[in-house]
């Protein structure tokens, strides 16, 4: 039993040496872990074993005493503070001005906080999509309308803005006769090809999963589900608003173009969104 500390410390020494060698020769994560654990563990086991074997383990009792100060102490303390303040008793005006100065300075010092950034409200209401611009994939390539079969789905951006965080759209083709949109919105589609914002109106995750048989777009973060055939109305999950629709058309060469920006601000809501 009393050999335990010696053995434990011995293991620790050997492991530390081994660790040094491992570092020297380039390192290896698993060996680093095992050897450091053995070195630390050896020290820990050794010290605790020493304590249990040889250090005094009798229980002692200590009086708690009183936490609160005595009445005398409290009185003395108050007297001290009040005696110090005494000369200022008649100087109300000066004290009020001091408080006013502190307050004014404090208020002024808040202003640099404004430099931390512009309020993004303007940027929140529009994306780089413009009328007549071609949509492109993440690689910057334009999209031929007839390259998308029924059930096909593609993520598209405005041309030149493939890194814009608010821009991505989901371009899907469904059977045209199944699309159930009001007439003005029907004009935003081409032969079953329809585009909605990919930014979930719940908390902003990309709505990346398309189930073609049911025409549902699913957001993997919190499982909000949107019905593509019915204007991307939410049918399950915490999203309360449909995905904004992007008006699209096909240009003379058969490429998909946007004919305007989204129907409303994309993504999650905020206080003055509407």
């Amino acid at each position: 039993m009393s050999a335990v500390p010696g053995i434990a410390f011995g293991v620790a020494v050997a492991s530390a040496a081994g660790l040094a060698v491992v570092f020297w020769t380039g390192g290896d994560t698993r060996l680093e872990g095992v050897l450091l654990a053995a070195a630390l563990g050896g020290l820990g086991v050794g010290i605790i074993a020493m304590a249990k074997l040889w250090l005094r383990d009798e229980l002692d009792t200590e009086d708690r005493g009183l936490l609160a100060s005595t009445e005398d102490d409290r009185l003395e303390a108050r007297v001290l503070v009040e005696a110090g303040n005494e000369p200022l008793k008649g100087r109300r005006r000066a004290l009020q001005l001091m408080v006013a100065a502190l307050g004014a300075l404090g208020a002024a010092l808040v202003f640099p906080v404004r430099s931390l950034g512009p309020r993004p409200a303007g940027g929140l209401r529009s994306t780089p999509f413009r009328s007549g611009g071609r949509v492109v994939t993440a690689d910057g390539l334009p999209v031929k309308a007839d390259a998308i079969p029924i059930g096909g789905e593609l993520t598209v951006f405005p041309e030149g803005h493939t890194l814009a965080a608010d821009a991505p759209a989901v371009l899907v083709r469904v059977e045209a006769r199944l699309l159930n949109l009001p007439d003005e919105r029907q004009a935003w589609t081409v032969d079953g090809l329809v585009a909605y914002s990919k930014i979930c109106t719940h908390a902003g995750c990309p709505v990346g999963l398309f189930e073609a048989e049911s025409g549902l777009l699913l957001c993997p973060c919190h499982q909000s589900t949107f019905d593509v055939l019915n204007g991307a109305e939410p049918t399950f999950g915490p999203a309360a608003r449909k995905l904004p629709q992007l008006p699209i058309a096909v240009d003379g060469e058969g490429f998909v173009i946007a004919t305007g920006d989204y129907s409303e601000p994309v993504g999650p809501g905020f206080w003055d969104r509407t």
Partner: protein
């Protein structure tokens, strides 16, 4: 030689007086009192490993073409932040090991803090005169959560980037000032040019400074008030029975530090955590299924998934859905947590000093409420993984969500009722065993 040095210091600081007093202090010994200690040791490991990492990490969203040792990403355009994390993982000696030790320490830190908080709650150690320390402790839990989230979000990988986007939407949802708050944090619309560098400052400077200060205050108060103890032979409200700090308690404490660090080292070397090279760099239009945050965010994630599609629209203004599970729920949670000592004192009418701990069954109502709360947040944690559970259990995720929406109300109530009954039973049995002299 040492006595000369000690004499030199004492001549200038009078340390011997202090040493006499402190080394004699008595600390009660119970295994559950080690939880807070282990949390502090995790924090020490976090600071040491974190300092190493901070020498290599670049908090920059500027892009660069990756050209390090991890071949599958060679030639891919990534942020400098992500590239620096890959560099740490593959091209810095012991870099991956220290990164993993840091991440494991964070995960264990929050777990042990939660267990420690639960121990303090169920034994009533938050009662007068320790209300202030309870508030400091609750703040520490909150700070640990913040630092964990900001920490893993620095790496700009696909998984943590998705989490940041959700966080952004939650901040945006705050009524009236949401867009202002977002500009404070990001400098503009998501992702903003300053997000990573501001998270970095928060993570390595502001929050650790607050944690350090709070831990020191926590300790000073503990030493001033002396630790609580369980009732037992010779133990009263006016004494402390235990081990003297020197030598035995100090030796065991130091030993426990080494053991804690040893466990974290073993985890760091043998159990992979946060393999960011598999997630890929963050791309704003991409996401993958089974996206899970670090464990301690699970209750918030579950709340988002279970929340029905409810929004408030008033006079042209709106309070969007993520506000309720993302802001209101944690605000109420921490408010209740902070206020608990005063709530309990008011309801129980008990305003006396307590230095002897309760056994959980001594306080059926408090224990029942605590178990109910754990059940509530436990169900939220489960709900945070609905897609993972649905695949594993072969059930529809929609059905699972409905089940959990009901369970989150029913199960905590049932758990609380069962617990209250069990506590009362336990007390009766204990009183009967001790004989008629002891009042129940």
């Amino acid at each position: 030689m040492t006595s000369r040095l000690v004499g030199w210091v004492d001549d200038r600081l009078g340390t011997a007086r202090f040493t006499r007093r402190v080394l004699n202090k008595v600390f009660p010994d119970h295994w559950s009192f080690m939880l807070g200690e282990v949390a502090v040791y995790c924090f020490i490991v976090l600071v040491v490993t974190g300092t190493f990492l901070s020498f290599f990490y670049e908090a920059s969203p500027q892009t660069t073409v990756y050209s390090g040792s991890y071949d599958p990403l060679t030639g891919v355009e990534v942020s400098r932040a992500y590239a620096s994390a890959l560099n740490l993982s593959f091209d810095v000696r012991a870099g991956l090991f220290i990164r993993q030790m840091h991440h494991w320490a964070a995960v264990v830190f929050v777990a042990v803090l939660s267990l420690h908080a639960a121990r303090v709650f169920f034994t009533g150690a938050f009662r007068r005169p320790r209300e202030l320390n309870w508030v400091i402790g609750a703040s520490l839990l909150l700070l640990a959560l913040v630092n964990g989230f900001t920490g893993y979000s620095l790496l700009d990988d696909q998984l943590s980037g998705t989490g940041l986007r959700i966080g952004y939407s939650v901040v945006l949802s705050v009524p009236v000032v949401g867009t202002w708050l977002v500009s404070l944090l990001l400098g503009g619309e998501f992702p903003g040019p300053d997000l990573l560098s501001r998270l970095f400052v928060l993570h390595i400077m502001i929050v650790p400074a607050l944690i350090t200060g709070a831990v020191m205050a926590h300790f000073v108060i503990l030493i001033r008030q002396k630790h609580t103890q369980f009732p037992g032979p010779g133990r009263t409200e006016t004494n402390v029975v235990g081990l003297r700090l020197w030598p035995t308690y100090a030796a065991k404490a130091v030993g426990l530090f080494f053991l804690t660090a040893a466990v974290l080292a073993a985890l760091a070397g043998l159990v992979q955590i946060n393999p960011i090279w598999l997630f890929g760099p963050y791309r704003v239009a991409d996401v993958s299924a089974a996206a899970q945050p670090d464990w301690y965010m699970g209750w918030l994630e579950g709340a988002q998934r279970l929340m029905p599609p409810f929004e408030i629209h008033l006079f042209g203004y709106e309070i969007p859905n993520p506000f309720f599970p993302g802001v209101l729920l944690p605000a109420v949670t921490f408010l209740l947590l902070f206020a608990w000592p005063w709530i309990e004192a008011r309801v129980s009418g008990d305003n006396t000093e307590h230095h002897l701990l309760d056994l959980p069954s001594d306080q059926p109502i408090r224990t029942a409420l605590g178990v109910g709360a754990i059940a509530f947040y436990g169900i939220l944690f489960l709900a945070g993984s609905t897609d993972v559970i649905a695949v594993w259990a072969h059930i529809s995720v929609n059905v699972l969500v409905r089940i959990l929406q009901v369970a989150v109300i029913v199960v905590p109530v049932a758990a609380a009722l069962v617990t209250k009954r069990a506590c009362r039973r336990r007390r009766q049995l204990r009183a009967a065993a001790m004989g008629p002299k002891v009042p129940t």
